[in-house]
């Protein structure tokens, strides 16, 4: 094929792609074209079929109908190698890199014959350094991957695709792990690639990013293509409504009535645990009747703070007070006893037990307390009644309380967790990434529950990677960076860019709480 033909036709044509998983139609006759030098955004809620569509393009799934054409050639189905060879590169949400290898080794991995006598590392290095310079993706080729930050890893992942001569780059939610400033740097690199004639598919559900980087937006809903618009002809609100299929009402906010601090930390430290960064002298007060937002790039100590409040971690320095008392031997049992509702970050791994029924999951935190247990004997009738009441009150869509929870969607799982912790009327609520991966209906439901709890006098700690969520819901905001906590910023005093600078570590007094 000649350069002329690529300049005229689309570089990629997805034609009538249909994919069914049992009764679920994940992609329903979706057709998308990508032109040279273009960035299109693939927009849609979780479960709308974005990832399925890209997995078909990349050969991870075979479609039940339709075809994929790259540079005018039909791709064989279900063959990732063919997609790679045709010039399609994918940057996954969860990086597929080896921690114990260097950057260069990671990039080369898989490109050279397995049984070759020696690797052409010098040539590879020159190519990698050249690419890095060309697109402004600075990395040290000899750094061990394990020592890199998330932003750097993402660059490696992109370079890996470019190294394989990708002409079409698919980025799956690339900004989820970045500060707003890092995201801007990524966008700058992407623009350079587009200027070189590369084409990019950008998967996201963050509207302002889509507006910033894409020239065209393709919106999926329930597996169907519901809209295709040029960015210049639309606005975020219209996109959101297209994505959800109805008008969106933002949560209603009443004025906060701050009460006394229900949980206070003064100079609290916790040890590092493996990949979990500990706290380095954190001062925090969670007041009754307020929502405290915690922003930060993930991996900067939010997990340690959440573990501390959840009772899984104890302070190794400083002081913690719960309801005015410093607890001795802080534990999960004590945290539950103190009326702390805990919505864990990972609802699949820590929040629920997949093969347990809804009933068994509903009593997970209180299985050994009345009315669910007496002298070591379980009362399944009481447990089932409780599960039923949660299912009704929190609108958990499920076949019944005896269903294994693994069959539920993420949103319904989260509603069960919410019901489990909220039914006891908690004083303190730890909401760690409470709405991540949920659809807008479930997000609104969870957020309204948190606001209702705040209005009846509970103290809420909202940990989120979504700055819009933090800015909308929080009465005061802290930012975490490298285990340190910023001062509290009152509602309305910060915007996303200000928070981004704190997230990057600016503004913290160096060494003020150093161990």
């Amino acid at each position: 094929m000649t350069a002329d033909s690529t300049a005229q036709g689309p570089v990629l044509r997805l034609d009538g792609i249909t994919k069914r998983f049992g009764a679920l139609v994940a992609n329903d006759a979706v057709s998308v074209s990508l032109w040279p030098g273009e960035v299109i955004a693939l927009l849609g809620e979780n479960g709308a079929g974005k990832t399925t569509l890209m997995n078909i393009l990349f050969g991870h799934y075979t479609a039940d109908g339709g075809s994929v054409e790259v540079f005018g050639q039909t791709l064989p189905q279900g063959n990732p190698r063919a997609a790679l060879a045709a010039g399609v590169g994918m940057v996954h949400q969860h990086f597929t890199l080896a921690d114990n290898l260097s950057v260069l080794e990671n990039v080369v991995l898989g490109t050279q014959p397995l049984w070759g006598a020696r690797l052409d590392m010098a040539g590879a290095r020159a190519k990698l350094v050249g690419l890095a310079q060309e697109f402004g993706l600075a990395v040290n080729p000899d750094a061990r991957l394990g020592s890199l930050s998330v932003g750097e890893r993402q660059r490696v992942e992109i370079l890996k695709a470019l190294y394989r001569d990708a002409r079409i780059l698919i980025l799956d939610e690339p900004t989820a792990v970045l500060t707003p400033q890092q995201a801007d740097a990524l966008f700058a690199a992407l623009r350079k690639m587009v200027a070189q004639g590369l084409s990019i598919i950008f998967i996201s559900h963050k509207l302002h990013e889509v507006m910033a980087i894409a020239s065209r937006v393709v919106v999926l809903r329930h597996g169907k293509l519901v809209g295709e618009v040029a960015v210049k002809d639309t606005d975020p609100r219209a996109l959101a409504e297209m994505m959800v299929g109805s008008a969106i009402t933002p949560p209603e906010l009443r004025a906060a009535k701050p009460g006394p601090a229900l949980l206070e930390l003064r100079g609290v430290m916790t040890p590092d645990r493996g990949t979990v960064r500990g706290l380095r002298g954190v001062d925090l007060a969670l007041r009754a009747g307020t929502i405290t937002g915690l922003a930060g790039v993930s991996g900067n100590g939010q997990a340690a703070l959440a573990d501390l409040i959840a009772g899984l971690e104890r302070p190794s320095g400083g002081e913690m007070q719960v309801a005015g008392v410093a607890p001795a031997n802080w534990s999960v049992a004590q945290a539950l006893g103190a009326g702390i509702a805990r919505i864990p970050e990972d609802r699949h791994k820590t929040g629920t037990i997949a093969d347990f029924t809804l009933t068994e999951n509903a009593i997970l935190e209180r299985y050994n307390k009345a009315p669910f247990a007496r002298r070591g004997w379980l009362d399944w009738r009481a447990a089932r009644d409780f599960a039923q009441s949660v299912i009704r009150a929190y609108d958990v869509r499920c076949p019944g309380p005896d269903t294994r929870i693994r069959l539920l969607s993420g949103g319904n799982m989260q509603k069960l967790i919410l019901g489990r912790v909220m039914e006891v009327g908690p004083q303190i609520i730890l909401a760690n990434q409470a709405v991540r991966g949920l659809d807008i209906g479930a997000i609104t439901f969870v957020q309204n529950q948190l606001l209702a709890a705040r209005d009846r006098g509970a103290a809420v700690l909202l940990i989120s990677e979504d700055l819009d969520e933090i800015l909308t819901l929080s009465d005061q905001i802290h930012v975490m960076s490298e285990g340190r906590l910023s001062p509290a910023f009152a509602r309305g005093t910060m915007n996303a860019a200000d928070l981004g600078r704190w997230m990057a570590g600016e503004g913290f007094e160096r060494g003020s709480h150093a161990a």
């Binding site: 899984l312 999960v332 820590t350 037990i353 935190e365």
Partner: protein, 349 residues
């Protein structure tokens, strides 16, 4: 090639695949019989008759199933909590040792006191044998597969040492065997004149108790939670380490009852060939039963039947008894595969 989860397997799948597994086992066994120069139909018939063809055969099968129910329960309880107890053999011998220590005249008690004391001591010994590896696992992260497996050899050599030394029967003509139990220390027969002893009744009771513990008590809930998802259990405040230790005590105790029941119900003394691998076979029994305690009873009887039937067939047809081991191995492998296929669909893409 990928596996796709089937949300609601059809009845056809639930019955079809395990049935196919059984058919494959029989076909494979027949092929082996043919290879050994025998008529496969006759061989299978002899196995069936030897296992369940007469009252004597049936009771023999149930007798053989008794230790397998205990070790199967021990493995099922442990595996349910993801405690990989490969050491039921060692725990069995620990139980047998206690039965002999208390039952050969050391205590002049009547049966009603002596037998419970022997059983209790056996359970305690078995529990302690597994407690060591369990503590190493929870405190230091030592892999219990290795420690429990190696403990089997330590225990067997320890018993061997005792049987050559302090426990050697002075009347035993030099054989490495213990003295015989006093009559009060023998488990009575369930029906006079028939060989089946009360160990079998005890095993059935144990199976029901384990089922009750697992499904009705907070301890059972904890054990299942820890086995299914340790991280979520920890988050919910379940003391994971302590639950694993409790599981070890229960599992070790159950395996030890196999030793007690074999010595007090069948053999009457302790020898090094007390167990032809009941501890290891218990793993097969538990896996075939999908770790369900009531299922363990059924699968133990099935496994015992194959062994007993093959023994008797071998005498009549001259086909080696090893055919039983091969058929059980085939049954296990095909059944595990069949059960996976009831839950997953294979996609070739």
């Amino acid at each position: 090639m990928r596996l796709e989860v089937i949300a609601r397997p059809s009845v056809w799948r639930m019955i079809g695949f395990p049935a196919t597994a059984l058919v494959l086992t029989v076909v494979f066994g027949s092929a082996l019989a043919l290879l050994a120069g025998a008529n496969p139909f006759q061989t299978l018939g002899l196995i069936l008759r030897g296992a369940a063809g007469s009252q004597f055969a049936l009771l023999e099968t149930l007798n053989r199933a008794t230790p397998l129910i205990f070790t199967g329960l021990a493995v099922a309880v442990a595996f349910r909590a993801k405690l990989w107890n490969i050491g039921a053999e060692a725990q069995l011998y620990a139980g047998a040792l206690m039965a002999v220590l208390l039952g050969t005249g050391a205590l002049g008690w009547p049966s009603g006191l002596l037998l419970p004391a022997m059983a209790g001591a056996a359970m305690l010994a078995g529990a302690l044998v597994l407690l060591g590896p369990a503590i190493l696992k929870t405190r230091l992260g030592v892999d219990e597969v290795v420690t429990t497996l190696l403990f089997n050899f330590i225990m067997l050599l320890f018993i061997s040492m005792l049987l050559e030394g302090p426990l050697k029967d002075p009347m035993g003509m030099g054989w490495p065997q213990s003295s015989r139990l006093v009559p009060e220390a023998r488990l009575p027969r369930i029906v006079d004149g028939l060989r089946l002893h009360w160990g079998f009744g005890l095993a059935l009771i144990a199976a029901v108790l384990v089922w009750v513990i697992q499904s009705r008590t907070t301890l059972g809930y904890e054990m299942r939670a820890v086995g299914q998802n340790k991280q979520a259990a920890e988050f919910a405040g379940i003391p994971v380490g302590r639950v694993i230790l409790k599981t070890a005590l229960l599992s070790g105790g159950l395996a030890a009852l196999a030793g007690f029941s074999e010595v007090a119900g069948l053999r009457g003394n302790l020898t090094l060939d007390l167990s032809p691998g009941f501890g290891y076979t218990g793993i097969i029994v538990a896996m075939l039963a999908l770790l369900n305690p009531i299922g363990v009873v059924i699968s133990a009887i099935f496994v015992a039947g194959v062994f007993v039937g093959a023994d008797s067939m071998s005498r009549a047809a001259g086909v080696p008894t090893y055919i039983a081991n091969i058929m059980l191995a085939t049954a296990l492998l095909t059944m595990v595969l069949a059960i996976a296929l009831t839950r997953f669909r294979v996609r070739w893409d």
